[in-house]
Amino acid sequence: MASSPARLVASVVVTCVVAAGGLAATYTVTAPRIAAQAREAEHAALAKVLPGAARFEPVSEQLLSRAQQAASAGTIEQVWRAMDGSGADAGWCVRVSARGYGGPVHMVIGLDRNGKVLGLTILSMNETPGLGTRVETEEWFLKQFTELPAGYGERDVKKLDAISGATRSSRAVKNCVTAAAQALAVIAGEEGR
């Protein structure tokens, strides 16, 4: 026996309303914690790449969009000005992504005031486990970027070693590091220091 159209509509509407209510309740309970977790993860990443800094302030929107245009190697997501305990400049942190083998590789890169890489970490990636993910697990790979000279450019980065079998994943990390330098060239120049 077929149900009347009104009954069909009513059943679906009631289900959806109840479901939406349940989800709204769950969201209200979990949202503050999720936001706190995200902030914590971000702060942990920033503190890891620039251990000397105590405070991080995002740069202005205008400056960020100028930096984004200048960074051709990757996508600049955020730039922070880092300060130490006394409020003096401690350098910059750049959150940047570039395309890898399995999707974007998201990184945070910490640089000192002269544009030398002090630390870098991978926030998230979707590279092949056991192959592409070696850009994170083989420590020498990320470490070699901290040996780049201050004010390095794309050509310096290109000369560094890649991991065999993980060419495109290595290139994604290299592009992130190059993009950070490109962004910083604009930002540091703008600030006149």
């Binding site: 149900s3 059943s11 679906v12 289900t15 479901a19 769950t26 979990t30 999720i34 486990p129 056991g130």
Partner: protein, 209 residues
């Protein structure tokens, strides 16, 4: 009581979703590279499956047959979103690993399959037993699967940073175990073992054709 127990155990052995019904494989092969992730994937599936079976069974007389699928999906998607939010809030490291596979539980055939094939036609207690049984059956296999893959694919099994079991350092883990080809080969071995020792199929020949 005996029927409940039978409904529960059939999900683990005779009708195990991964080993016998062979549904929900995609997520299984993808997340079974890490023991810890597999444990939480199993828990998420148990929760969603049991809750959706319960709700659908309770309201089955009010669900018109013509719109049952959209209504099932709304119920399932709601529970999956609850799991998604809760995991993000309380175990972010696990969530970072499972990522997209948690929302994708919505389209996992096991959940919709049990709603359609079982909960829509059976009583509440039976449906809860079915959901729990299928969920436990799924979890058991994915956890065993991930244990072996992580052990032989990366040399050690870890749970929240604690090493549960490690192979000697001379063992150089082959990456293929963590990649899909390794997953398929291992899955085949599990299937063979399951048929031989649990469901005892195919011993007479012909049956396994």
């Amino acid at each position: 009581m005996r029927r409940l127990l039978q409904t529960f155990t059939k999900g683990i052995t005779r009708e195990n979703p991964l080993m016998v019904l062979m549904i929900g494989l995609c997520a299984t092969l993808a997340v079974s590279t890490q023991f810890q992730g597999a444990v939480f994937m199993g828990l998420a599936v148990i929760f969603v499956l049991t809750m959706s079976n319960t709700i659908i069974s309770v309201f089955r007389r009010f669900i018109p047959v013509e719109v049952r699928i959209p209504m099932f999906i709304v119920v399932i998607a709601s529970f999956v979103t609850i799991v998604d939010l809760v995991m993000k809030a309380f175990v972010p490291s696990v969530y970072a690993f499972l990522g997209i596979w948690i929302p994708l539980i919505v389209v996992n055939c096991i959940i919709l399959g049990r709603a359609e094939a079982f909960a829509y036609h059976n009583g509440v207690l039976q449906s809860i037993a079915d959901g729990l049984g299928m969920g436990v059956g799924y979890s058991l296999v994915i956890v065993l699967f991930a244990f072996v893959r992580e052990l032989f694919g990366s040399g050690a099994v870890k749970f929240f940073g604690v090493t549960l079991l490690a192979l000697p350092s001379w063992y150089a883990p082959p990456a293929v175990v963590l990649l899909f080809p390794g997953a398929f080969v291992l899955y085949g071995l599990y299937l063979a073992a399951w048929r031989r020792f649990v469901t005892r199929q195919g011993r007479e020949g012909g049956e396994c054709a």
